[in-house]
């Protein structure tokens, strides 16, 4: 009854050994799974470029509001620049968070992740990494433009890119927990901010300080190190929590 080309000939026993190649539960298998999950998210994002641009446009708009609302005087803007850039980046990354798991939950992909036999923690890490590559990194690359428009000197730009890049890693990781917890709720936007923003405060504090020092030409290593510490802590703990949250949300 088996048709040509069908894998019917394979017995279950031999299939099990064939599976060992990918190592159903091995670390190598988990890394391969995470790599594929990352690639899938990147590919999907590039198929829907419109969504990709939204947080960036939002970021640019918010930074533009301040000169209009406060004053076009560069000396005053320069003083506010770190706060403006970081608040805008925080809100922009929050905006993108809502999409982090929504489609996956809706089409059953998340369920398949949870049932894949691979470590859900690694898969969550991959999804968060994709999210950072698609929002955090572009934001970091756009931050210099915003900084320039707010009167920051050219010499400060490298420091600003660095601080936003490192800080947004932590933001994506913290956000992934909130996004996983609010999964499947109808109007989750406001709640997601309520859950995520208080936890993001340390990132905001250190990030804004690093940016401020970059603009004033001070030594910004100390706040940058603290940002890095937050990112490392996030990398080790947040995917675990996000995986647990996803399992709870699937129940």
């Amino acid at each position: 009854m088996s048709m040509p080309g069908a894998p019917a000939a394979a017995t279950l026993a031999s299939a099990a050994t064939a599976d060992d190649g990918a190592g159903a539960t091995s670390v190598a298998g988990a890394i391969e799974a995470a790599r594929l999950a990352l690639l899938r998210d990147l590919k999907l994002a590039f198929r829907k470029r419109g969504q990709l641009v939204q947080p960036l446009a939002f970021f640019a708009l918010v930074t533009m509001l301040f000169p209009l609302a406060v004053s076009p005087e560069l000396s005053r803007l320069r003083e506010m620049a770190p706060g403006v850039i970081w608040v805008a980046a925080l809100l922009a990354s929050l905006l993108a968070l809502e999409f982090l798991f929504r489609d996956d939950a809706y089409d059953g992909t998340l369920e398949q992740y949870a049932l894949s036999g691979q470590s859900l923690t690694w898969l969550m890490f991959a999804k968060t990494a994709a999210h950072w590559l698609l929002t955090g990194l572009p934001l970091a690359l756009m931050a210099p433009l915003a900084a320039l428009s707010l009167g920051a000197p050219l010499a400060s730009l490298a420091g600003i890119v660095g601080s936003v890049a490192v800080g947004s890693i932590a933001l994506s990781l913290i956000g992934s927990i909130g996004a996983a917890l609010t999964l499947g709720m109808k109007r989750s936007g406001a709640l997601l901010s309520l859950l995520t923003l208080p936890l993001s405060l340390p990132v905001l504090i250190y990030g804004a300080r690093a940016t401020q020092l970059a603009i004033s030409g001070g030594p910004l290593l100390a706040p940058l190190e603290l940002l890095g510490a937050l990112a490392v802590l996030g990398v080790t703990l947040a995917p675990l929590a996000a995986a647990a949250a996803v399992r709870i949300s699937l129940e």
């Binding site: 048709m3 069908a6 017995t11 064939a18 159903a24 489609d103």
Partner: protein
């Protein structure tokens, strides 16, 4: 190693105020096929998701090879393929890309095996089109191709024949028959009964 065997003992599940599963029990050994029937809302999907370990039951246990599946969920999941009532496909990827990621996350798939599975479900002609342009029946076929690639001991299927034409239903039948022939287990929630190709089916009827 112990034989592949799924045992369910005294499963109780509540959803909100509703006592959905009231003491479900059954055992299924190698080459066993169980169809789960019952009216809408009788908890078929909840039962399947509980068996998978997605839902934690209020009471009762699910044993795989004589051991509580909660002990080692990843190992159990590696032996399990679950197909929900919606095919787990991304609308913005082609059928082939979907399979490559979905199955690839679980195990290595050779491109030739992928082609063979797509051909088997009659998808050769349209497997490079985006899933959003496919009909519901075609999407279901892509999901079946994924299932054919998952040569694992236990299949849990939620309404596998939905949206399929007569030929597609036969395809489901032959896939299940093959899984049983190699000693695998199949549990399927169905509305109209499994296709005729599947014989020796046991039935579990859930009360409304």
């Amino acid at each position: 190693m112990l034989d592949e065997r799924l045992e369910v003992e005294n499963l109780h599940l509540w959803r909100g105020e509703r006592h959905v599963l009231r003491g479900v029990r059954f055992a299924l050994g190698r080459a066993g096929c169980l169809e789960v029937t019952g009216p809408n809302g009788s908890g078929k999907t909840s039962l399947l998701r509980t068996l998978c370990g997605l839902i934690y039951p209020e009471e009762g246990t699910v044993l795989w090879k004589g051991e509580n599946v909660r002990r080692d969920l990843p190992a159990f999941h590696a032996a399990l393929a679950y197909l929900g009532h919606e095919p787990p496909l991304k609308a913005d990827l082609s059928a082939r890309e979907n399979l490559r990621y979905w199955i690839g996350i679980r195990r290595r798939v050779a491109p030739s095996a992928l082609d063979a599975a797509l051909e088997r479900v009659g998808a050769s002609g349209w497997c490079d089109r985006l899933v959003r342009t496919l009909s519901a029946g075609q999407r279901r076929r892509v999901a079946l191709a994924g299932l054919a690639l998952l040569v694992v001991p236990l299949w849990i299927l939620d309404e596998p024949t939905t949206n399929l034409d007569a030929e597609g239903q036969q395809l489901v039948g032959s896939l299940i028959a093959e899984q049983l022939a190699r000693g695998g287990l199949v549990i399927a929630a169905v509305h109209q009964g499994l296709p005729a190709a599947v014989r020796d089916v046991r039935r579990l009827e859930l009360p409304p």
